[in-house]
Amino acid sequence: MGSGRTPSQTIGPFFHDALLDKDRSELVPPDHPEAIRIVGTVYDSAGDPVPDAMVEIWHADRAGRYDHENFSGFGRSDTVDGGSFSFVTVKPGPVAGPDGEMQAPHVMVSVFARGLLKRVVTRIYFPDEGEANASDPVLSFMEDAAFRETLIARDEGDALRFDIRLQGENQTAFFEL
């Protein structure tokens, strides 16, 4: 089924006034005791930043619950500033996987941009979750260690960095849903 689905088309370059009229990059206030910052840059295959992308995130709360009480779990950022995006949120808890086993904490990510005819979907995993990451069903499916590493954010002290390379060397791993 689903054969009658409406096809995707590119977001184009002119979406900002409609989709980013309000700042939705802070899922919790920056002074929240458990606030973390996730930053990154979107790059094309020439290594140039992509300043006309929109990055959306979706993730569980600290207890692994989606859309629970006051925590929406949804964020949106532009990349107008040199291809970079930024979110303030809390670290998600583990969520059940396809066979009921636990998945490591992760953030679902969609990237839309001019030149992308459909979104790319990826996941941000956390560098301090070595054990959970090792047994995560999605990460452990990926045999190529370097490809797998593209899904794990880097700890920069005041922020977690997750750069997104759309194409070329060190391309980020993307998913088909």
């Binding site: 009658g4 590119t10 569980a60 969520v95 030149g115 979907v121 999605v138 759309l166 993307f174």
Partner: protein, 239 residues
């Protein structure tokens, strides 16, 4: 994980759903941005069968009328754009956010990077939003957008279109697309429209003229029905 697989970025999963491939070389911007590594087919979990509450955000009463956001009325041909949003099984997608944006009647966006030398209209911003009702229906009032040039190739013009952003019920149903108008003479040369390789799927991007919904002495109407991926993963064909 026996159900996890890989999939080439332009491969059958995308085309089965009617989506374009990432790489469509005639659309020049895809050449440096289309991923080329195999896609990992993600097994369905709560992470993608749930979706943001933002998709059910409250919207203002006039947010779906792009002709009443300023002091005066915008220039152009006033139109009603409406339709139904359903999932792949034909069930209505209820209370779900739709965001739209478009050029004005002259083919110009308010966006500061739009350099097309066509006039801006101080009575038109070209952005709207609404929620689907209990039957999945939505309705906008706007003006018909103009075609505009975009430098992709010599004498390249985008057919008139309205950009649509939809959330549906889950992360996996998220869709951004474009609605076109019937009989547009610019379809044949537009690599974005034609990036959808499947003829039937491509036709689903074109609204239909809807005489029944026109309002005599006031506005013409177009109908654009939208089918989103459901909350549950559609079963993979094995071959």
């Amino acid at each position: 994980m026996k159900e996890m697989r890989e999939q080439s970025p332009g491969g059958v999963v995308g085309s089965r759903r009617g989506d374009p491939p990432y790489l469509a070389p005639d659309y020049v911007a895809t050449r440096l941005r289309a991923p080329k590594e195999p896609l990992i087919i993600l097994p369905s979990t709560l992470s993608d069968t749930t979706g943001p509450a933002y998709g059910r955000a409250p919207v203002g009463e006039l947010d779906n009328d792009l002709t009443r956001q300023h002091e005066g009325e915008p220039l152009g041909e006033r139109i009603i754009v409406h339709g139904r949003v359903t999932d792949g099984d034909g069930r209505p997608v209820r209370g779900s956010l739709i965001e739209v944006w478009q050029a004005n009647a002259a083919g110009r966006y308010t966006h500061h990077l739009d350099r097309h030398p066509a006039p801006l209209d101080s009575n038109f911003s070209g952005a709207g939003r609404c929620l689907t009702d209990d039957e999945g229906r939505y309705r906008f009032v706007t003006v018909k957008p103009g075609a505009y040039p975009w430098k992709n190739h010599h004498n390249a013009w985008r057919p008139a279109h309205i950009h649509f952003s939809l959330f549906g019920e889950a992360f996996r149903s998220r869709l951004i697309t474009q609605m076109y108008f019937p009989g547009d003479p610019l379809f044949w040369q537009d690599p974005i429209f034609n990036s959808v390789r499947d003829e039937k799927a491509r036709q689903r991007l074109i609204s239909s003229f809807d005489l029944e919904t026109t309002v005599p002495e006031w506005a013409l109407a177009y109908r654009f029905d939208i089918v989103l991926e459901g909350r549950r993963a559609t079963p993979m064909e094995d071959h």
